[in-house]
């Protein structure tokens, strides 16, 4: 796994700090306007389970396995230079030499073991038993205490359901040992929540929350100041192993209004404006000096079905919904053609697990009508609980969908709701709702299975369950036979998208960032913003 590029980077990092001392520091200060810095006001991704959290955390914290966002989202060496399979349950990692934390400490195997310890992740939960929780909650959310907040172990266990622990082999080598066979362990270690921060940094912090707000990571930028809901100020970590960061000070500024973000960009107050709705792209690009970059990200927008609804209990009605949607028209009308319809709820970066010939149900109103006729649908009203643009273009999409469904005879009634509690409220009949589905790592178990499987949110909400699907989910999570896993995955898609639809995919979500044209910078297919030297100005490789 030690590539020539990685070797070059190591060599470069060894000499860069000395060179930089001799140079005048004329690196720029860059301000990035975002809608939200972090929903929980922390940079700990076990708490901050949001897309925006990944954006900020990735500037400060790193993982053993990194992802190359610009080359097929491949797994590449991060804080580990190499890794190998010992057996079906164990992966061994060799740590990168010369990596320094923001406090000057060198990355050690103890730091890695600590990051995946009971203290930092799992509490007293057991790998084989799945989720267990501490019953006492006197420590609340990590204030005034170093104790692990109660919500962290279940979140960590979802990422690592059967991780037994990290064994230290020698001063540069660690082994991740799973309680059950798991071919996706490397993927899990490359995903959010697997960040390595300094053990000494944690020891010296006043509380869990203080450390979650000002972690000591190894990333290209270190936290100078975090004013919740206002601004996150980062300074270049000049001893960064990947080369001297190109920006001296990076300011992540919360600007909730989209028009204010755009005006700030155009007036020169900000160099980047994130979270630009597609309908604003043209207005930004009318200014010759600016452009909007970005496109589809690792997240699919879906319409979710509640099969406990009397009408939706018949899978033919749910399939009729899926066939009535002209997805291409939605993309053209609302996304300026800048996103795509994925091949079902999967992503290209599933690699060998991608079912390449799989497709979403085709737009076929006649088929929808026929299915409804077979199901004996009499035009009963089906509720559609809706949030006000939680997702980009959500309300406009829903209005188009309702009209498309109406064309085939489906009587869908929008009910505006204010929050997720109201969306999930079981006291009144539920029908369809909006949702999204991502993938934490390049395998169906990284998203699809955890969302709709036995421990997933859909089943927890009581919307959908399928006995065969549940059984197959357990098999795909523990099987090491790659061909069998792929066959299982195909069957899972058949069940969830055709035979007993749990949802139907609309399109891939998109993320758009407006920026000055003269700044050379690439947008990742994710909320992650890469401000390393390799993605800035002349540092960008062709």
């Amino acid at each position: 796994m030690l590539t020539r590029r990685a070797l070059g980077t190591i060599a470069g990092s060894a000499i860069l700090p000395r060179v930089s001392l001799a140079q005048a520091d004329n690196r720029p200060t860059v301000t990035v306007a975002v809608q939200t810095i972090a929903t929980t006001n922390t940079l700990n991704l076990l708490r901050e389970q949001s897309n925006v959290g990944e954006r900020t955390s990735s500037l400060v914290n790193e993982r053993l396995i990194d992802l190359d966002w610009f080359d097929g989202i491949k797994q590449v060496p991060g804080l580990a230079t190499a890794w190998r399979r010992i057996d079906d349950t164990t992966v061994e990692f060799t740590l990168r030499e010369g990596v320094k934390f923001h406090n000057g400490d060198r990355l050690s195997v103890e730091d890695v073991a600590f990051a995946f310890s009971a203290t930092q992740m799992f509490g007293d939960s057991k790998p084989e038993a799945g989720v267990t929780l501490p019953m006492s909650a006197q420590y609340l959310i990590g204030v005034g205490s170093k104790a692990l907040p109660p919500e962290i172990p279940p979140v960590a266990r979802r990422s690592f359901p059967a991780l037994r622990g990290v064994e230290i082999v020698d001063s540069r080598t660690v082994r991740f040992v799973n309680a059950t066979p798991d071919v996706t362990l490397e993927g899990r270690i490359s995903a959010t929540g697997s960040e390595i921060t300094s053990r000494r940094g944690f020891d010296e912090a006043a509380s869990w929350l203080d450390y979650a707000r000002k972690p000591i990571g190894t990333g290209p930028y270190r936290v100078r100041e975090f004013r919740p809901d206002d601004i996150l100020i980062l300074d270049a970590h000049d001893e960064y192993w990947g080369g001297r960061p190109p920006i001296k000070t990076l300011r992540i500024k919360a600007v909730p209004e989209v028009s204010s973000r755009i005006n700030g960009l155009l007036s020169g107050d900000y160099q980047f404006a994130c979270d630009i709705p597609p309908d604003q792209i043209a207005s930004v690009e009318r200014n010759a000096g600016f452009e909007v970059v970005g496109g589809p990200i690792l997240n699919n927008r879906i319409t979710d079905f509640d099969k406990t609804n009397a009408v939706l209990a018949d899978p033919r009605v749910r399939l009729a919904f899926a066939h009535a949607i002209d997805r291409a028209a939605i993309i053209e009308a609302l996304w300026a053609g800048r996103t795509v319809v994925p091949p079902g709820n999967q992503f290209d970066y599933y690699g060998p697990m991608l079912i390449a010939d799989w497709r979403v149900p085709e737009f076929d109103p006649a088929k929808s009508r026929a299915l409804l006729k077979q199901a004996g649908y009499k035009g009963d009203a089906i509720p559609y609980r809706l949030l006000n643009n939680y997702y980009t273009n959500q309300v406009a999409t829903s209005q188009i969908l309702v009209e498309m469904w109406k064309q085939v005879g489906l009587n869908v009634e929008i009910e505006m709701k204010e929050n997720w509690t109201q969306i999930r409220d079981r006291s009144k009949p539920r029908g369809v709702r909006d949702w999204s589905s991502g993938a934490a790592f390049g395998d169906p178990t990284g998203g699809f299975v955890t969302t709709f499987g036995p421990n997933g949110s859909a089943q927890a909400a009581g919307e959908w369950r399928n006995a065969e699907f549940d059984q197959l989910c357990i098999q795909i999570q523990t099987s090491v036979d790659r061909d069998l896993r792929k066959r299982i995955y195909r069957r899972l898609l058949e069940i969830a998208e055709r035979e007993d639809p749990a949802y139907t995919v609309l399109h891939q979500n998109g993320s758009f960032t407006a920026k000055r044209k003269d700044i050379r910078w690439r947008s990742a297919p994710s909320f992650v913003m890469d401000f390393r030297a390799s993605n800035w100005g002349a540092g960008i490789r062709a």
Binding site: A33, A137, V143, G144, S260, N263, G264
Partner: protein, 309 residues
């Protein structure tokens, strides 16, 4: 006078209790903070743990009694998101808001009242029409529209002022103008109509007929009598000093109490919302109380009336 004061204090306290109770009930019935703060994707066990940790699994009346008992012990609760005392979070943001709202109030008073007086004294003149056109524009243009227009002109086109944030004193200029313009318009309009009404009173004619210089008539007789409606409006403006800039703070990304309120409401950070509402209600009620007392100072008849009851 004491009875007058006691009655108003009791009414003020009752109003505050009503506001706090209403906010408590509405906030708890409109969404589960656990789902909002932890995201709907969080495992059920984590959400349950969160609810238990914050007592949200208790019946609402138990939560309500605990909350009120805590208030009487000086505890306004802890933020769900920060774990810090809500009052501490709010207190941190108050200076940032007052930095905007106090100059804006001075702008409203400093521009609105003189403009209203001038318009009234020169009724139907070109100046009067200009002042009234400005006043109508001031209170009809929504602050978010005005704010964006000012940003487009002074930040995007001219590049003179920052478009938002709290970087330097220059960052204050556009939000203060945005806040002040509408209020100045309201004050100008009320002052003008109050002045016109007073200027038509017999005692003004009498004073003029007795040869009192016009300037003295205006200063000594017209202005004090026209002050009551203006003082009432200023009272409302003072009352909204703490949370009167919610929209403007959002447009200009200004980290004040208004922004905190928006974020706290959307996250159902109940203690913070309740703390802000308690402060706003207290400020508004206190301000109204002071206005009530000022009425007595400005108009001795009201004092006498209060005593007669």
């Amino acid at each position: 006078m004491l009875r007058f004061l006691a009655l108003r204090l009791a009414r003020a306290a009752f109003t505050i209790v009503l506001v706090v109770t209403f906010a408590f009930v509405v906030l708890r019935m409109s969404g589960d903070p656990a789902l909002i703060i932890m995201s709907p994707e969080a495992p059920v066990e984590a959400i349950e743990a969160f609810r238990h940790a914050w007592g949200l699994d208790q019946p609402i009346w138990v939560q309500y009694l605990s909350y009120f008992s805590a208030i009487f012990h000086g505890e306004l609760g802890q933020s769900f998101r920060d774990g810090r005392p809500a009052i501490e979070l709010v207190a941190e943001r108050i200076p940032a808001t007052l930095i905007l709202t106090i100059p804006a109030l001075l702008l409203k008073v400093g521009v609105g009242i003189p403009a209203g007086i001038h318009a009234a004294l020169h009724r139907n003149s070109t100046t009067d029409r200009l002042v009234m056109a400005g006043a109508v524009a001031g209170f009809t243009i929504p602050s978010f529209v005005l704010g964006l227009l000012l940003v487009l002109l002074f930040s995007v086109q001219l590049g003179w002022l920052p478009s938002g944030g709290q970087e330097s004193w220059r960052s204050m200029i556009l939000p203060v103008i945005t806040l002040g313009f509408g209020g100045a318009g309201v004050l100008a309009r009320f002052t003008r109509s109050a002045m016109l009404e007073v200027l038509g009173q017999p005692y003004i004619r009498t004073a003029s007929a007795k040869g009192v210089p016009w300037r003295m008539v205006v200063r000594g007789h017209a202005l004090p009598n026209a002050a009551i409606p203006t003082v009432t409006i200023i009272g409302f403006m003072v009352g909204s000093l703490i949370a009167g800039a919610v929209v403007v703070e959002s447009v200009f990304s200004w980290p004040g109490v208004g922004r905190l309120l928006v974020v706290a409401v959307s996250n159902r950070d109940l203690a913070v919302v309740q703390c802000i509402l308690l402060l706003v209600a207290t400020t508004m009620v206190t301000s109204n109380l002071i206005v009530d007392l000022l009425y007595g100072v400005l108009d001795p008849r009201l004092r006498a009336g209060a005593g007669a009851h």
